[in-house]
Structures are given as C-alpha cells and as structure tokens.
Symmetry: C2
C-alpha cells in the first residue's frame, strides 16, 4: 500500500482496492455509471459508503481541466433585481453538482475585466454575465474561455455565444408610450446614474416622446450631471446609493425645476417609491396631479397606495433560463437559440391611470418576444 504524506481522507484508490477494482473504474462509476457493470457498481458503492469517501473536487478539476464552478457576474448584489436573477440561477441548479461563484462588478468595466481574468484561471464549467457592455478585453477572454458563456438581462445581435433577456429600449418605449396615452405631457425621466441598460431605457423614453412631440432633454433628471456609474461602496459608507431617499430628492428637484411636470418615469422602482413618498409629504395627488411609474416591478409596487405602475421584468426566470441553458450545453447539447427574448410586461396601475378607473385591479400589457 502506498504511503501517504498525510493521513487525510480516503482517496479513490482506497476505494478501488477495497472494492478490488481499478481506480479508474471507481472514477467512472462516479461520473458515468452507465459505463460500469451494475455488479461492480454495487461493490464500489458499498466501498464508498464504508469508507465514507468523498471525491476531492480540486484534484478532479486539475485532472480534467474543468471545474464544477459556474461563475456569475452581476453589477450589484444589493439591488433586488439582480438578487432575484441570482436566485433564479440558484434555483436552476436543482440537483446538479455544479457550484456557483458570484462576482460583483459594481457597474465598473475595469473591475469586470479583472474579475473575468481571475475567473478564467479556474477553468469554470460555465460563465453567466450580465449585459452586453463588456470591454473588448473582457469579451476576448470570454470568447476564449472554452466553456459555455451566457449573457443575461439584455439583448443584442451579436452575443458572445448566447444571450437571454429583453430589450430595455423597448421596455422604456412602451412604458413611456403608456404615459403618453394616458394624456401626460410633461413626463420626466428620473435616474440616479446611467448604466448601459439604463441608457437603453432612456433611449426608449426619448423615442416615445419624440414620436409624441413632447420630448424635452431638460426633463431628464439625474443625480449629478454626468455620472455613469454609481460611486464606489466606500464613498457610500456601506449604504446603497440607489435609495428611496434619493428618489424623494430627485422628485423634489424635478418638481422644483419643472412646476408643470405631470408624470415621472423612474429608472428604478425604489426611486419611484421615493417619488411617491415625496408626493405624499407634499400632499400632491397621484395620479391626478402627477403620475408615477417605475421599472422592475418589485413586490411593493403593487402594494403601494396608490399601487404604482411599473415594467415587470422576469428576473427570476432570466436567471433560471440561463442556468438551464448552461446545463443543457454542459450535457452536450448545442445552443438552441443564440438570442432569447423573454419579454416584459407593462403593469398599468393606479399611479399612472388618471383617465378613469382601472377596471381590473391591474391591467397588463405583455411585450413578450414578438418574433416567436
């Protein structure tokens, strides 16, 4: 019997010798049971139980040049949008032996690049990454990663391999269109900063208002004039930059700058919530005097008083489908669809319906993939 450097856990050869077979057979019994006769399989299973053997996954990763880690890159964990996506990813995991390593880009392409460079050293089983605005270097690394790569939460024509999401531009357009149809004329766009995806929404807003002939660039109210990324956590003192408090402030600012304002489309639900609180504190009628719409449709939007309109995006499903796609491909399947549009729903609620009474508790306008 070979002597060991340290008397640690049982190894695969301990199992093999106890079962009276070769190590590779044990290995196969573990990973490809159908390639091992059922008799041997039983003997091996018994030996495994007797020794309480658990495979060393680092050794496996080294030998096979492939780990069981699915790397997930999201811009933020504290925004419930992404935590829901991540939960969908976790739920898609089900019984598979895969693990998930979440990394946080903080909306910063440089950090993202750094993270990807680290991730690829681990030979991940797959990579799930948010959005399409990776730097050229990042994209390069992802293309060379040699594993399934799935982009999520956006759409584009040339995904790295595969993208699952929806069109932010269309979402922004449709919600703005809804406001226009409700008769709102002076519709502001409230945002903290502009991520790549937020810009898409803003473009949709712009297009809808230009069509309506009521576009006014001054109505885009933003935190700081040119911020395109949130401040680093350190400067936030561990608090979230995106907050109801900020929504409140943006709303006050918007109303001060534009006394004729009659609706706000908030880039984010938490800003919309803040906007509502702002109106409540000034005794401003919603939706009579001002309409309020958000984006994401977090749970409190429906519960609010009045219920707040929003764009429901299928964040959980997005994560779930991404994980499902990953698993299919890890099982050897080809990419089914390179671009998967999971759509969104415009949730029309009281906060933006001033033309009458909402007959149903909420009207839904589904904007799912039109090209299916």
């Amino acid at each position: 019997m070979a002597k060991r450097r340290s008397s640690s856990r049982p190894t695969i050869s301990d199992v093999a010798s106890l079962a009276g077979v070769g190590a590779i057979t044990v290995s196969r019994a573990l990973r490809e049971p159908h390639k091992v006769s059922s008799t041997l399989r039983k003997v091996i299973d018994d030996a495994i139980k007797k020794l309480n053997y658990v495979p060393d996954l680092n050794a496996r990763a080294l030998a096979s040049k492939r780990s069981d880690v699915v790397a997930v890159l999201v811009p933020s964990l504290t925004q419930s949008v992404f935590s829901d996506v991540v939960r969908g990813i976790y739920d898609g995991l089900a019984e598979s032996p895969l693990r998930i390593e979440v990394a946080n880009t903080g909306y910063n392409p440089e950090i993202e690049e750094h993270l990807v460079s680290r991730i690829v050293r681990h030979q991940p089983a797959a990579i799930i990454v948010s959005g399409t605005d990776q730097s050229a270097a990042t994209r390069q690394m992802l293309e060379n990663a040699g594993c399934p790569v799935v982009q999520i939460m956006d759409l584009c024509d040339n995904p790295i391999q595969q993208i699952i999401g929806f069109s932010h531009e269309r979402a922004g357009y449709e919600m703005t269109r809804h406001l226009v149809l409700q008769g709102y004329k002076r519709i502001a766009f409230l945002t903290a900063w502009l991520s790549d995806r937020s810009s898409g929404r803003l473009n949709g807003y712009k297009r809808a208002l230009q069509e309506a002939g009521t576009y006014d660039p001054a109505l885009v109210v933003q935190r700081g004039s040119t911020s395109t990324t949130p401040p680093p956590i350190a400067e936030q003192g561990g608090k979230s930059f995106l907050s109801a408090q900020m929504g409140k402030e943006l709303m006050f600012e918007a109303m001060e700058r534009h006394p004729d304002l009659d609706a706000v489309f908030c880039n984010n639900d938490v800003l919309a919530l803040g906007a509502l609180f702002a109106c409540q504190s000034l005794n401003i009628d919603v939706p009579g005097k001002v309409g309020i719409a958000g984006f994401n449709d977090l749970d409190y939007m429906e519960a609010a008083h009045p219920p707040l309109s929003s764009v429901r995006i299928h964040r959980w499903r997005c994560g779930y489908e991404a994980m499902t796609a990953v698993r299919h491909r890890l099982d050897g399947a080809e990419i089914a669809e390179a671009v998967v549009d999971i759509g969104f729903d415009i949730m029309e609620r009281e906060s933006t319906v001033r033309s009458g009474i909402v007959t149903q508790s909420e009207a839904t306008m589904s904007m799912a993939a039109s090209d299916r």
Copy 2:
C-alpha cells in the same frame, strides 16, 4: 523538455526555465515575495509578463490542500438584509486573492447540512455561516473543517469558533420597550414565519410586554399558524414570500382581529411598509391611531411618509468584520474575540412617536455592546 498532454497555457516551469530559476522559486516569488531576492523577483516578474502566465488555482489547491474559496452560507439572497451582509463580505475582500462562494440555505437546516457537506470537500479557505441554529451534524462538520469558521448575524455563548453579530432578543426587547414608553398598550407582533433569529426578536417583544403587563399571545399575528420556515421557492413561483403585500394582509388581519390595536412591531421592514400602505388605504392615522415599527432599517424606512421607526442593524459591517476576521486568521493571527457584539440602534421616527413632535429628524438610541 517534458511533453504535454495538451498545449494549454504556460505553466510555472515554463516561467522558471525562461527566468533561469527553479520552479519553486517562481512559486515563492508569487506567494511569499519577501523570501526571494529582489533581483530574482524582477527576472521572474518579467518572465511572467512575457509569457502571460497565470497560476492554475486548482493545481494550487490540490498541492496545498487549501483553496482560496471562502464559503458563505446565508438563508436567503433576496432579502436585502443578507445581500447587504454579503456585500460587506465582498467589500472586506479588497485586494486579497480570496474568492467567495455564496450558498443559500433557504432557512432549511437540511439543505444547510447538505451544502456544508459539499463545501468541506473543497477544502475552503474559510467558512462564514449565518446564525447559530445549525444541526448537530452541520456543527460537527464545521468544527472539523480545519479552517476558520465565523458565525454571523447573531450572538451565543458557545460559537463554533467565533461569532460576530448582535442580540435579536435585546433588539426585540428595546424596540418594544420604546413602543411601551410611547404609551402604546395593544402592540401586535407581525411576522411571516419564525426563523431562529426572528424567535429571538419575538422573545424580546414578549419580555418587554410582560414587564409592562400588557402581553397577550393573541397579538402575535403570523402567516399560517405554525410556519417556521418559508415555503420553498417553487411554491412561490419565483416570487418572494416575504413581501409588502403580505405585510398589508397581516395588518388587515391584525386590525380585524384586534380593533383596539394601537401599534404593530413588524418582524421585517418590508412587512412594516406593507402595514403602512394598509393604513394609508384605510385612511388610518399613523402614528396617531396606530404606531408602526419595523426591523432592519432598510433605506426606505426613513424616506417613508411618515418616516417609519425601525431597528437598525449593521448588516454591511457585520459582513465586513467577518471577512476581516477571516483574513486576520488566514494571516496566522489568533482569534481576537470569540464573541463580538456589534450592537444595533433603535431608530425612533414619526411612525411610533405620538407623544409629541420629534425634535430631531430622528432620535437614535444605540444599543451597542454594553460589556466592552
């Protein structure tokens, strides 16, 4: 030159031969630069850059029997409480080469046990785990993990190794005490289900009311009568079980069952938000007719109209300190304090202050560690 199975990325010996040194020297230059002469270090660095060498972390983990993965176990990712904690953990990472693998127990001890059993196979660098209610088997595994283990978000007398958090019982007590001092008599406790930590809060509530002589078990309003864990995600259809909508329903239920109700202490801010919406929809004065308090102090509590009282817990800091502790110990330091109380603050805001006007925008009562 040894032939390779696959012509993949450069290895440490490629670097070594290019630099004209032994492989181990390269290894040391990477991990313990101070043990290598600066001249060699420079030569090696050049070679590394020239070859674009990146160490294979799986091989490193196999050889050293220790990976760079810090496993983090939380009951939920979608509750912002824990996503803030996780962010604190990430932020505590800073420039260290550690990675984070977050796993999700869903408040289910069996799942937790399963996850821990998988995690320990990876020889993690450290484990951070929420709470103290691990199963006996889980605790056993953690004790034998052979790496730093830090418990967070609670306190106890016998941590596995080290615990960083605060007392839920005291927090529940102090907030209830505040309500009592404000003259509220019929104070309900609203909760969706009772986690181990929630129970602590409930116990504090109970103690405070018993002291005041106004405790009434019927005032504990819970979703379902005996639920101790949330339903699995599948039954939630990918939606969060804990929601403002549920807070609203619980509030309606509480008011119906107890017309004399004059305050609610919600186990969670999102429930408190729902309770507020419930009152707004019925035109019930807050805090005149009913006081509302939450737990966690998420950002919208302060922004709400009226601002909602809550127990501010230092979730970001908790994660950050846990990671800091992990890094210290990975650097060879001993455990400084086995039990670290990071305290909490009672945020007294308008929603529970009916005896007069809050002179400051918010009064704070800090309940940090008293025994320092």
